[in-house]
């Protein structure tokens, strides 16, 4: 924290070495969150550049309530989210998603595809299916899944980063996970059966 304060003071003075240090310290993690949200190296690079430009522009607005990294991380998430929405609006409107109901799940022959080691199961075909599924996940669901499940933020941290309620994070997370599970279930040939008990 002390190092961060010193680094930030030097950045505020426009010290080039300090800015380079800041870029090297923060860019790997910020690049990854952008890449996970946008799923394109070129788009993630653009978002990363915009994140640092925005941060330098708004440096005076940093009030120290969160760590400087957290502040920049939130900028990176917002920049990426805006880029994703812009990209998706060119292709199709942000639609809601369909997730299977309880009745639908109960009526199926569930396949237990959890026993094999992940790396053995993760074939090129399955990777393609997973990419397609997450590409189809609307931005508001995708970002929650990325922050909570891929970036490892807590529910609370995800809520603060996105400025939405904890309850909202939980709802979106559940729908995102069930939507993605559904793609894998199809790959593993989960089929409809007849059971309807509740």
């Amino acid at each position: 924290m002390k190092d961060e304060t010193k680094l930030l003071a030097a950045v505020r003075r426009g010290d080039e070495r300090a800015v380079r240090k800041l870029v090297d310290a923060y860019s790997p993690r910020l690049y990854n969150v952008a890449l996970r949200i946008l799923r394109s190296p070129q788009d993630a690079e653009d978002a990363l550049q915009e994140t640092f430009i925005t941060a330098l522009d708004k440096l005076d607005q940093f009030d120290g309530r969160a760590s400087f990294f957290t502040w920049m991380y939130r900028i990176a998430v917002n920049v990426s989210l805006m880029a994703l929405r812009k990209k998706r609006s060119r292709r199709k409107k942000e639609e809601s998603i369909e997730v299977p109901s309880f009745e639908s799940i109960r009526s199926r022959e569930l396949i237990d595809w959890t026993a094999d080691p992940v790396r053995k199961v993760l074939t090129a075909e399955m990777r393609e299916i997973m990419d397609a599924a997450i590409e189809n996940l609307p931005a508001r669901y995708r970002v929650v899944f990325v922050l909570r499940d891929l970036e490892g933020l807590s529910i609370e941290e995800t809520s603060k980063t996105l400025g939405i309620s904890v309850a909202n994070v939980k709802i979106r997370l559940m729908r995102a996970r069930l939507f993605l599970r559904e793609a894998l279930a199809k790959y593993f040939h989960e089929t409809n059966g007849t059971e309807t008990e509740s």
């Binding site: 080039e16 860019s27 990854n32 190296p41 690079e45 430009i53 330098l56 993760l122 499940d149």
Partner: protein, 79 residues
Amino acid sequence: MTHRQIFKKVCDFIDGELDEATCNEIKKHITACPKCRIYIDTVGKTIVFYQVKDAPKRLPAAARKRLHATVALKLKEKR
């Protein structure tokens, strides 16, 4: 606890957001109910699959270079 209640709580269970008593009830249920166990396990495994597939990537050297150049330019503008 019913199958439907388990279905609703699957994510809270995975996230460790439930109290101990509820957790124990779910654990007890899934030892006797393969379908609910498979459902919970496969939701959890979906997350693991994505974590492995989308593991952190290195920022490419050329992208890092371009980033430094962009930021240096921005600094000059600000002066």
